[in-house]
């Protein structure tokens, strides 16, 4: 028998729900035995508050403990909502980059992927990117979410997807073990594959990580090919310094639109670079509110920093498919005023923290 689903959780793909209505509906959904995830139903027993009664606003999301470390070991079945029992409703299981230890796992439901793609498409249209462009991704494959999204995206926008294999954990391992030259060789190996594609195929969109893009920029041949063919470069997966971004925009790829995407597997998506930024503006990212939202806090006190100040980024994901609240990320950013109607903060000039849980943070290639 089909379960009755709160329409707030099932709003049309081209709309977004009211933020507080979403949060309250999601609490009822994830913490009711019939529809909730086994993980949260069990976890609720050790919470010192009542999620359904107490979590009603954005600020209330901070009541949750940061549970992401538990995602390193939880069986994936326990993260799938009881309300979505059919395996056909599961899009896939994705893993974090493994920057901060053993990988964390999240499940991505088909419903969420559809919502994300609709948001993604709205952004691309707003950027003036024509449909039907071919796409090349130089982002992690395997268990990572980064290459799954473009695969769906070309299906909805038309065009052909070209991919390469990338294992970011190998690069981190090389760096941690003091073998940076092996990491360099691997990047060159990836770029050689890019060269074959850029030389022979019509590539309109390139998704790539900043370390690879910087390395690509060393090659006159590849820079010429990108400038000749590519309409938009989407960078993601590692931070990009403000000076590097400025040089790429103004000197290396002056004719190509360069757009950042600040994604995190732990929120099943992320934030796109704000529209209409000039070459001299900070790189501001606005999340897919209200499903994905950010706070920028002082990690010592947990309080929000002032707008314009740097703090550590906390991320929340609230949807029918998953509840991933109050995750202290390994990044710092400048807190920026949100767009009208947006939940939480926008962020700018994202950088990794130097160490996390006492371990140095190695960004590597992604």
């Amino acid at each position: 028998m089909p379960k009755r689903i709160d329409p707030v959780l099932d709003c049309p793909l081209d709309e977004v729900p009211d933020a507080e209505a979403l949060i309250q509906a999601a609490m009822r959904w994830h913490f009711s035995a019939e529809t909730g995830t086994p993980y949260w139903l069990e976890r609720a027993k050790s919470l010192d508050f009542d999620p359904i009664g107490d979590v009603r606003t954005f600020a209330d999301l901070a009541l949750f403990p940061n549970i992401v470390n538990e995602l390193r070991t939880v069986p994936a079945e326990e993260l799938i909502p009881n309300g979505l029992p059919e395996r056909s409703e599961l899009f896939g299981v994705f893993e974090s980059g493994g920057t901060t230890g053993a990988p964390k796992r999240v499940v991505c439901m088909v419903d969420w992927m559809r919502r994300w793609l609709a948001f993604d498409n709205r952004n691309m249209d707003a950027w003036g990117l024509p449909r039907g462009l071919n796409w090349m991704t130089m982002v992690p494959s395997g268990p990572h979410m980064a290459s799954a999204r473009p695969r769906e995206q070309v299906r909805s926008r038309g065009g052909i997807l070209f991919t390469i294999d990338m294992d970011p954990r190998w690069v981190k391992k090389c760096i941690v073990e003091g073998r940076p030259e092996d990491a360099e060789r691997y990047l060159d190996h990836l770029l050689k594959q890019a060269e074959f594609l850029l030389k022979t195929q019509n590539i309109g969109i390139l998704t790539i990580s900043p370390p690879l893009l910087e390395r690509l920029a060393r090659s006159d041949l590849l820079v010429d090919l990108v400038n000749e063919k590519v309409r938009m470069i989407v960078w993601q997966g590692a931070h990009m310094g403000a000076d590097t971004r400025h040089i790429l925009r103004t000197e290396v790829f002056p004719e190509v639109k360069l757009r950042g995407f600040y994604g995190s597997t732990m929120v099943l998506g992320g934030a796109f670079e704000r529209m209409d930024l000039t070459d001299d503006d900070r790189c501001v990212f606005d999340p897919f509110s209200p499903y994905i939202s950010y706070s920028v806090i002082d990690p010592e006190t947990g309080a929000a920093v002032e707008y314009g100040e740097r703090g550590q980024v906390v991320m929340h994901h609230v949807s029918k498919g998953q509840l991933l609240p109050n995750n202290l990320e390994r990044d710092t950013a400048i807190r920026v005023k949100p767009l009208p109607g947006q939940l939480g903060d926008s962020v700018a000039d994202v950088q990794p923290v130097a160490s996390f849980h006492g371990k140095p943070v190695i960004e590597g290639v992604y």
Binding site: A217, G241, A242, D243, T244, H246, L248, E251
Partner: protein
């Protein structure tokens, strides 16, 4: 002047003021300048531009380097007069202003003689140009080993920037990564070189984070790197990187005539505020070292503690915390030795967050004591006994050795010892230098090679 001095990166497309800037503070912690730090992408592109750049004819290079030396030492550059520049270096590095002034003149001089000094290294069998008439019957040609030369500077002394002018004069394109303590000198010098006619793609200033520094060396054909023993060990055996580490310069006093050489000894220890690699680190005394140590201590104790910008200042000044750390390190190493000066500490707090580091004199009872290799960035000397029976073993690993002796067999041994850089016999302080003599071998030995040439 309003606001801190802006020290832009000097890239292949001109000056670049980055968003990522490092505050450069003086010895009291007061901000003096903001240094633009460039990212890896900027470094990579600048190094590629140096490689692509066209060469400049030798006569124009030589004239421009000479002119730049004059501009450096005389002119207003980026709003800074030469005395503004000297004041900034003195306050930030904590170097006595007289040392900075002396170095300004040394850089002017080095620029005027850069090509001549470089050519001192040319083998007698080689000519400079293939068009030389002697190439028709076959000869050797002196040519560069590469096109791009990188410099990782140190901040202990602005004089390090006198040397790489030779590379520029020989036709290398040059990239300089400044130290964080003295970005002023290379910024001023490269600005002067550009004003004198060098293109932006001929010589660049690339201030950058430590993690990117390797890209500057990686992007060059040859590099010179200044640093400590760890840096020297890192590049040992690397034929394209010349590492310049501690000098561990020494003085040997034989016979009983030490009192007449005392001025040379004191000057060798304390000149340039004791910060240079040519300052004496250890004095070896044939016979009883006690009266020598005592006399050195007496002389050095008379040097006043003054702020670095004082005309009479002779000692280095550091942020108080840095000074305390150096003192702690020294006193730890000095355990088991006899202190003649500085045994209770060397820090003289100036009360403004900075401190003078005062001289130290310790006596060890064995020429092979490990302390004699401990080089500090201020006047600090280890006095050791020496006998002919010990020979030159304790005198090894030395940039400059001044020997007060007339024993020709001993002089032969010192000259033939591969780990001794320069040998000065008699009353010549270890810092003695004249254009045309090598500092640590000729740089030209490293930058150039010969090839055979014959033509119709």
């Amino acid at each position: 002047m309003t606001g801190p001095i802006q020290l832009d990166a000097l890239g292949h497309n001109g000056a670049y003021r980055s968003r990522d800037r490092l505050t450069v503070s003086d010895v009291t912690g007061t901000p003096v300048a903001e240094l633009s730090l460039v990212p890896r992408l900027f470094v990579d592109r600048a190094m590629a531009a140096l490689r692509r750049a066209d060469g400049v004819p030798a006569d124009r290079r030589v004239a421009a380097v000479t002119q730049a030396g004059r501009t450096f030492a005389d002119a207003m550059i980026d709003g800074l007069s030469v005395s503004d520049y000297q004041y900034a270096v003195s306050r930030v590095c904590g170097l006595p202003i007289s040392v900075v002034r002396g170095t300004t003149e040394a850089i002017r001089d080095a620029a005027a003689h850069a090509y001549g000094n470089a050519r001192s290294a040319r083998p007698v069998g080689a000519v400079d140009h293939w068009a030389d008439p002697s190439t028709r019957t076959g000869t050797a040609l002196w040519t560069r080993r590469g096109d791009v030369f990188a410099v990782h500077a140190s901040g202990n002394h602005p004089g390090v920037h006198a040397l790489w002018l030779e590379a520029l004069a020989l036709g290398y394109r040059v990239a300089v990564r400044p130290s964080r303590r003295d970005p002023f000198t290379p910024h001023r010098l490269i600005t002067a070189l550009r004003a004198a006619g060098f293109g932006d793609d001929q010589v660049v200033l690339l201030p950058t984070a430590h993690s990117v520094a390797g890209d500057i060396i990686g992007g060059a054909d040859l590099a010179i790197v200044y640093g400590d023993d760890a840096v020297v060990n890192k590049y040992a055996g690397n034929s394209t990187v010349r590492a310049q580490g501690p000098g561990r310069s020494k003085i040997l006093l034989t016979g009983q005539t030490w009192r007449s050489h005392l001025d040379t000894v004191i000057s060798s220890i304390a000149s340039r505020a004791g910060t240079a690699c040519v300052n004496t680190t250890a004095v070896f005394v044939e016979g009883d070292p006690t009266p020598v140590a005592q006399a050195i201590a007496e002389e050095l104790s008379a040097i006043p503690s003054l702020r670095p910008e004082d005309d009479e200042a002779m000692l280095p000044v550091k942020p108080l915390a840095t000074a305390r750390a150096m003192e702690e390190f020294l006193l730890g190493r000095a355990e088991g030795t006899k202190a003649w000066l500085g045994g209770d500490g060397v820090v003289d707090d100036l009360g403004d967050g900075s401190a003078v580091i005062r001289p130290a004199v310790f006596q060890v009872d064995d020429a092979a004591a490990p302390q004699v290799g401990v080089e500090m960035g201020f006047p600090c000397v280890w006095v050791a006994p020496w006998s002919r029976a010990e020979g030159i073993r304790p005198l090894r690993n030395t940039l400059v050795l001044t020997a007060m002796t007339d024993d020709e067999r001993l002089i032969d041994e010192l000259v033939n010892e591969p780990t001794i850089g320069n040998v000065y016999v008699g009353d010549h302080p270890t810092w003695w230098f004249r254009p045309g003599v090598p500092h640590d071998g000729y740089l030209g030995e490293f930058l150039m090679r010969t090839k055979a040439i014959i033509r119709d």
